[in-house]
């Protein structure tokens, strides 16, 4: 027996590998209660409140997807509005053909995931900054192509059919539940993906891409998977957007402001953690609601805050919380517990 294995065997009893430093069973329970309470909201609050929450669900879904791209896979996409728009248009096309917009929602998400494959093929050979602008060009191109079809509204868009004769109160409630469901599914998918093999591969790539490659990590495949999932997620967000607005307008759904919103919410909340976009969405919604009467000011302030955070508080607001109380609501890493001393983190800290 070599010295190394012997010492490993001898000390095996004193080490334990855990998902989290603290017990997170209670966070799971709290999350479950939160979802149940949120699901009951249409019965207890006014429709104005649920409308604001639907907006928050859309922003949270989009921000979580952007976080998956930029925070975990290092892909800064400025063209995610392509998928927001495509998701909205998939719902519109299916609704024109007589399918209920709510039933069309999952198909819109899948359709956007499929559409992400050829788009990935086009931009995958570009790195960092050029990838960013290329996705932007792609989004502009997708919009120009969609605008050519006058049967789906051409350059001006059209109202979403399929709601005729529906009780407005019921429509508001269904829209709210659709938004909530999309957000919960999106967060669950991201959490499970990052907990699994993909999360490990992405962490390896983030720390050292060459080393990850030479250890057999399929870097290209992992990035493609992330791009497809993010495409589907942003598509689902766009589908909810179309349903909540009751119309689809190319200039609005393909606006680069969607990417600005998801990027700012993610950066302010904390890039590279699942909790970050949640905090960021709260900040975004508060700013947007308070400054709603001052036109574009909320975007200017958000942009300035995001620049400041990117430069001086790189782990965002959640990073500040995490540094104090050291807790993860969505543990995706590993902790090495040494029984005799204080637990230490196994995963290396993010590169500075």
């Amino acid at each position: 027996m070599s010295l190394a294995t012997e010492s490993t065997a001898r000390s095996a009893g004193r080490f334990r590998v855990a998902r989290s430093r603290r017990n997170v069973a209670w966070t799971g329970a709290v999350a479950l209660i939160a979802v149940v309470v949120l699901a009951l909201f249409p019965y207890i609050v006014y429709s104005g409140t649920t409308a604001i929450l639907v907006q928050a669900f859309i922003v949270l879904t989009l921000a979580s997807m952007w976080n998956l791209l930029a925070g975990y896979a290092g892909l800064v996409s400025v063209g995610q509005q392509a998928f927001v728009g495509l998701g909205a248009y998939f719902v519109l096309i299916l609704a024109i053909n007589g399918i209920s917009p709510f039933a069309a929602l999952p198909f819109a998400a899948i359709g956007c995931g499929v559409a992400a494959l050829p788009l990935w093929w086009l931009v995958s050979r570009l790195r960092s900054g050029y990838f960013a602008i290329a996705t932007w060009v792609l989004a502009a191109t997708v919009m120009l192509i969609i605008e050519k079809f006058s049967s789906i509204g051409g350059g001006t868009g059209m109202p979403l059919p399929g709601f005729a004769g529906m009780d407005p109160a019921l429509l508001t409630a269904y829209t709210y539940w659709a938004g909530l469901a999309v957000t919960v599914v999106a967060l669950a998918v991201i959490y499970l993906l990052l907990r699994g093999r993909l999360g490990l591969v992405l962490t390896a790539i983030r720390d050292d891409e060459v080393a990850a490659r030479s250890s057999g990590a399929r870097v290209g495949l992992a990035r493609m998977l992330v791009f497809v999932v993010a495409g589907a997620g942003c598509g689902a967000g766009g589908a909810v957007l179309a349903i909540s607005q009751l119309q689809v307008q190319p200039g609005a759904v393909f606006s680069v402001q969607w990417t600005a919103v998801m990027a700012f919410a993610t950066i302010i909340g904390g890039l590279g953690t699942i909790e970050g976009p949640i905090i960021g969405t709260v900040v975004y919604m508060v700013l947007q609601q308070t400054l709603a009467s001052y036109n574009a000011w909320y975007l200017i302030i958000l942009g300035l805050v995001a620049i400041f955070v990117a430069l001086f508080a790189r782990r965002g607001l959640w990073g500040l919380v995490d540094a104090r109380i050291n807790v993860r609501l969505f543990p995706v890493g590993y902790w090495l517990r040494v029984d005799s001393e204080r637990p230490r983190r196994l995963a290396l800290p993010r590169r500075g």
């Binding site: 930029a70 290092g74 800064v76 400025v78 086009l122 931009v123 050979r125 570009l126 960092s128 900054g129 050029y130 960013a132 602008i133 290329a134 932007w136 060009v137 792609l138 502009a140 191109t141 120009l144 192509i145 605008e147 050519k148 350059g155 680069v256 402001q257 600005a260 990027a263 700012f264 950066i267 036109n295 574009a296 000011w297 975007l299 200017i300 942009g303 300035l304 995001a306 620049i307 990117a310 430069l311 790189r314 590169r351 500075g352």
Partner: protein
């Protein structure tokens, strides 16, 4: 003949696209910064020119002498402060910061100057004047002058980088900033100078665009940045000749598209860009290892 005319107009506007693109290309080549606020800076320069002309009542062409150095100075200061700060952290941070700047500038312009588009009125015969060749081909003096200025600037920049002493220093820093630092070069200062050149050229292009067409707060991203980037990719990274060729190819594609149907102008340009990305990702003129 209409087609020949479209191609000639495309070549002329292509020069302006190349002028937009060279700053983007330079900043990426030297400091590996992709400035997502590049187009918005051009719009800022255009608005500055409008403001300067309105306030101190100088002839239009004089506004270049004020705005271009001012933007170059801004470039140096920004590079030495927030861009260098972002660069010291990571490439990802530079993207987030410049994207943030882009959104802030665009919405700031929207807030203070409304969404209306503005043109830089020159009041010169040069702008509206044109000469004709045959019966169909009409060449405006302004597009021709802009094209010639673009060619001169790109050639000058190429010569500056490849033959001058300071150009050599910039290339040395671009190749290996630590090694250049060891040899006594202050790479942060060199980065600042490169940013100043990039901001100066984009200011020049922005004012020229304001004379040629119209500027609105969103012009910076949905037109200038995307066209400049398409020109860089079509031409091939790391070559200013390639950028000029890329701009011309993009301009010609757009004009031919417009000839087919007026609404196809933008789409035709982007489709050529995507075709190059698929068929010849290294660009039309490739420097191979210098990508």
């Amino acid at each position: 003949m209409a087609w020949v005319n479209a191609i000639i107009q495309g070549v002329l506007i292509g020069g302006l696209y190349a002028l937009f693109a060279c700053g983007l290309s330079l900043m990426f080549g030297v400091m590996k910064v992709v400035n997502l606020a590049h187009g918005d800076l051009a719009v800022v320069a255009g608005y500055l020119a409008i403001g300067v002309i309105a306030v101190i009542h100088i002839p239009v062409l004089w506004s270049f002498l004020i705005v271009v150095p001012l933007m170059a100075l801004l470039g140096y200061v920004m590079q030495r402060t927030i861009l260098q700060g972002a660069l010291d952290r990571s490439v990802l941070t530079t993207l987030m910061v410049t994207f943030g700047l882009s959104v802030v500038i665009e919405n700031g312009l929207l807030q203070f100057f409304t969404a209306n588009s503005r043109a830089i009125g020159t009041g010169l015969a040069l702008v509206t004047g044109s000469f004709t060749i045959g019966s169909q081909i009409q060449i405006g003096y302004l597009p021709l002058v802009i094209f010639l200025v673009a060619v001169v600037v790109l050639l000058g920049l190429q010569y500056f980088l490849s033959a001058s002493r300071y150009g050599r220093l910039i290339r040395a820093v671009a190749d290996d900033k630590e090694a250049a630092q060891l040899a006594g070069a202050d790479y942060r200062h060199v980065f600042g100078i490169a940013a100043a050149i990039a901001f100066g050229t984009v200011a020049l292009a922005g004012i020229a665009y304001g004379m040629y067409s119209q500027l609105a707060p969103t012009t910076g991203t949905d037109t200038i940045l995307l066209f400049a980037f398409a020109a860089v990719v079509i031409g091939g990274l790391g070559s200013l000749w390639g950028t000029l060729l890329g701009g011309v190819v993009l301009g010609v594609a757009q004009q031919i598209g417009a000839q087919i149907s007026l609404s196809d102008e933008l789409l035709a340009g982007f489709i050529v860009f995507l075709a190059v990305l698929v068929l010849r990702p290294q660009g039309l003129i490739s420097r191979g290892a210098q990508s």
